[in-house]
Amino acid sequence: MDMDADLRRRIAELEAERRRVFDEAQREADTMFAQYQLSQLLASGDPLEPLADAVLAEIGRATGAGAAALWLASPAGGPVEIVATAGVDRGADLPARLPDAAAVAAWARARGWFGVALEESRGAAGRGVAREAIGFVAVAPAPGTALDPAHTRYLGLVRRELGLAFRSAQLRDSLAGERATLAAILEGASDAIVAVDPDLRIVRLNAAAARLVGRPAREAVGCTCATFLGCGDGPDRLCGARCPFAEVIAGGRAIASREELVRHRDGTEIPVSASYAPMTGTHAGAVAVFRDLRADRALDDLKSSFVATISHELRTPLALISGHAQSLLHLDLDAEARRRHLVQIGAAVDRLTTLVDEVMDISHLESDGFVLHRRPVDLAGVIRAFAAEQAELPGAPPVAVDLADNLPKVDVDPVRLHQVLANLAANTAKYGGRGARITIRARRPDQEMAVVTFADNGRGIPPEEQEHAFQRFFRGQAVRESRVPGSGLGLYICRRLVEAHGGWIRLDATTRGTSISFGLPVEVPRGRVAGRALPAPAVGAGATARGDGAGAPASAAGGADRDGTPTTGDPVAGPGR
């Protein structure tokens, strides 16, 4: 039975061989499958951080390691930094930053870690490909075990795939970051930005563009620039041959700032300064930047009125002085006549001084360095003293006071409070005529504000002019025609001073005369408030003006308080400002 035994031995050998080949094939297949699973993660397109975490977990599992760590250089070069770890804390004596991958390799060797440098290929096939180490991945055996070379071998097989995937993830992340930054810049720009494709359809616009024409941004994308900007209508329409978008797309040359009109959804024409630039590449078309010129125009108007008012107000007293001086020089006058001329010259000089003081006040009020010297002030005392002072002043209208018993101390600069009262009284004196009388009433309607009402029996302010009463340089028509000199700054200065205190000022509805109320903050026992920077003036402020204090009552003079919204900027208070 040797034959039979031999045969059986031979069969057993073949069976064992078959199993050995099978097992070997299975190990190969295991490695391939591990690579496959890793490649699935690498192809996920995830951002660097989750990708690195997942890949390290996978590598740790595939190599049977107890810990794994990844270092990468940034795409811009420089040192390699630790990006992710698995099975070990990042802080736990792993080097956070080393000069290059070779330094990590040296560290890993010294610590008994196994690792491979990750490579990135540069260049193109056939034209010389350079490989560059961009990072390092290392694994450590679990305590009390050793790494199996059959498992770690796979790391060497995937080093390039790892390098490519991590570098791509870094570039994707930085691209996403740049896109977010650009989007934030675009959205945050105060100028309107609109991009169109070659068919003049809007492909991108920012929030300022939507605001400029009063249309929601989501409605704009896809519609033509003519529809969106309203330049398709009207006699000055830019559409067709004169379209600047079409011009820059066709000519490929930018157009620098040019004045144009765009149309708000409500039909208003808005003057803008427009610049156009062509876009090339995958996103061909043109982009335009529109700057709303309305604020500039308003500022220009303001400057013009300033120059006109001031020069007029300067010229009148100067002409008077000149005239009286000529008389004194050329006429043979007696002492009494000379004195009359000198009195007239003195009055004209006083007017000039007042004007210069007001201009100085404005410039002071609008500078950042304006400081209020606030302290708790007895409101009733200030008003009584002011009334007494007016009684002493020759030609000043008499002042009656009506003060509540519970008037608090107010938190104000007493010099500035006096200035407000004096400006208001000066208006009555100027425009009230003979028999003008003033009543100053003070009340405390709530815990936070004291309200002072300054009323006279003068000619009042016509309803149509009330809206502008507190604006710079504004003078009513009747006042202008009355030939009473004035700069149009008195009420504006009052408003700015009251607002600087965090108060408000408004015109009251009256049947006769003028009634102006202003609110002042009640003193609250707390640390000293050194001062308060002034809010910036608002162009076109309404008749009711208020700061950050308690709101003005909603029922104000007819048409004066249009919407009750704050008309000034944010008056940020703070010691030391």
Partner: protein, 236 residues
């Protein structure tokens, strides 16, 4: 490979209720294909939450390929043994199922087939051995452990249940039903787990709250082994 001669011109089925023959294995695969096809959408939906969203489609395609290969190569009467049918099935799955589940299920079927080599009739103990060989192969190839939120979370308890039933002298049908119940419980228990293998690894904590599609398809396969009828439709 030892391929026996045809017995009586029909695929061998168990001659009693306590063993399974080649014909029973073919019937199992047909039921498995039907069960997977009925639940293709559910499996895709489960996979969409954790992976590529194509597990159901991949598995259906793969099992259709298995049925075709059975038709071509293991026609009734060619005398194939159960082990060989399982090995062929494994190879077809590796070749035709996309994603990781092809190699994983394929490996399990191939190794189970190897373990059952030379047996024409499979009793409960043999089935338990085969399933255990498949379980170990799948765990090795996938480098996964119980609790990783994988196929293994259904396969492992099913294997244990089958072995326990065999050791305690249970009947074949009872043992298979216990395995199916254990697979179902294992499948359901994957929902609160955090995935530690496969694409779902990227999700970390966000993988909680989703039932694992691999464990679900595995339950369907074990169920097909135990059942004699078409599978009931699972709600997903």
């Amino acid at each position: 490979m030892r391929i026996g001669p045809p017995v009586d011109g029909r695929p061998a089925t168990g001659n009693d209720d306590e063993t399974l023959g080649a014909g029973d294995v073919v019937a199992f695969l047909r039921r498995a294909a039907a069960a997977i096809a009925r639940h293709e959408e559910l499996l895709d939906r489960l996979d969409a939450a954790l992976g590529d969203g194509d597990h159901g489609t991949n598995m259906r395609t793969g099992l259709e390929a298995v049925l075709r290969s059975l038709g071509e190569q293991a026609a009734p009467g060619d005398g194939a043994e159960p082990g060989e049918i399982l090995r062929r099935t494994g190879h077809v799955l590796v070749e035709s199922v996309g994603g990781a589940s092809g190699p994983l299920y394929g490996t399990a079927f191939i190794e189970a087939g190897f373990a059952l080599d030379g047996r024409r009739q499979l009793d409960l103990a043999a089935l338990a051995d085969g399933l255990d060989a498949g379980r170990r192969a799948l765990a090795r190839r996938g480098r996964c452990a119980v609790g990783d939120k994988t196929i293994l979370d259904a396969l492992d308890p099913a294997t244990t249940a089958l072995s326990t039933a065999a050791a305690s002298g249970c009947g074949l049908r009872v043992g298979l039903r216990r395995a199916a119940h254990a697979a179902r419980d294992g499948m359901r228990a994957t929902t609160p787990l955090v995935a530690r293998r496969g694409l779902a690894l990227r999700l970390g904590e966000r993988s909680r709250g989703h039932q694992d599609p691999g464990a679900t398809s595995c339950y369907l396969l074990v169920w097909a082994m135990a059942a004699r009828r078409d599978p009931p439709l699972m709600e997903g």
